[in-house]
Symmetry: C2
Subunit: 221 residues, 2 copies
Amino acid sequence: MAQVRPMRADARRNRERLLAAAVEAFAAQGEGASLDDIAKRAGVGAGTLYRHFPTRRALLEAVYSDRIEAIAERAGVLAERLPAGAALVAWLGELGLGMIQTRGLRALLSSSVRGGEDAGPGAGGSSSDCCDPLRRAVARLVRAAQEAGELRRDVGETDVLRLVHGVAIACGEAVGGGSAGDARDAGNAGDAGDAEGAEDAGERLRRYVGLLMEGLGPRGE
Amino acid sequence: MAQVRPMRADARRNRERLLAAAVEAFAAQGEGASLDDIAKRAGVGAGTLYRHFPTRRALLEAVYSDRIEAIAERAGVLAERLPAGAALVAWLGELGLGMIQTRGLRALLSSSVRGGEDAGPGAGGSSSDCCDPLRRAVARLVRAAQEAGELRRDVGETDVLRLVHGVAIACGEAVGGGSAGDARDAGNAGDAGDAEGAEDAGERLRRYVGLLMEGLGPRGE
DNA sequence: ACCTGAACACCGTTCAAGT
DNA sequence: ACCTGAACACCGTTCAAGT
């Protein structure tokens, strides 16, 4: 499963450089950043990028897999410290926050959760997916919350993951991300009686996750 | 505001042809369809496309504005026939269905609802937006539902619009859309106890809107 | 075994030249 | 007043030639 022979020194170095350039590029330009540009900034030929990362998705995964695993591991911590329902809410908040702060992360979960589309060319069955740790994490939290009677039993992990993803999309970009044209707190403020003045994406996320969880609570079960 | 002088005959004809080609292209390839291709299929030069529709968004709006207005008008009909809360739910279902069936529609509402990003280059303030009819429609339904005590008062039209948009994203593509590689009912079925066998995006949408509305109901107000 | 960079196909956008 | 299509800059991807 792991590399049998260690990589040649120059290959290893090029890989590092590519990853470093990609981190910067994705942060600055979003998940659609020019691959050619990344190769150039890394000081390697375009072919070298493709040799190490055959698809854009492969590069995205390499860049964000650590982050994804870190988020997944938070599930265990929260599950220990909080009652099942609260742990689920808290974890969904953290996941959502990660997604609104990091476009690349959102793109990755997006293509994983929506199935098909662009889940990678080699995705015959479900095979393995960099978001599997998130899947496992949410599965545990969901099951625990259901057993504690704090979550309706007719929703699955995929439902929850999908809904959080949707909610994160709904919240819009976090400010200070990097794109041009910030400082737009006006927008549609003073709409009607909207509780929405200078609220930012993070606050919105918390609010929406809260609403969602009320809908997910055990009704007249 | 409207065209002062009527368009020259050839210009008018080219416009029609472009629109027809765009409808087909967006339906087949999604909102990212090649503009060059659209011009070619319409039998006009690339410059002509840009003369009539200076941005991709302008073309999208021209293609889908009728559809948007039709959806907005449904709000009035539903408001007459149903209690306020039910009317809102039904209308959100229709809007969501439109979005999961028509990628171009989703793209349009997306850039309108998420503010910023690509709301068009000439968007200084909020100016006018092709989704304004939807805004007005949802505003009426929301207000009515709140006055009837069937919707919490701390959510605004924009919240509701955003949430439906998110839910539609969460549902994924409708089958039979046009993309390659359908017939994927397996995917992650048999997950755990997931109520998710061969469920399609439409059913999911209804389910999610239902969940959402339970969360939006007046809690212990 | 790995790297380079030219080559190809494609796309969006502009603009001088036409009618 | 409108149209055409060549031209330009850019991007993703491949592959022969190098070391």
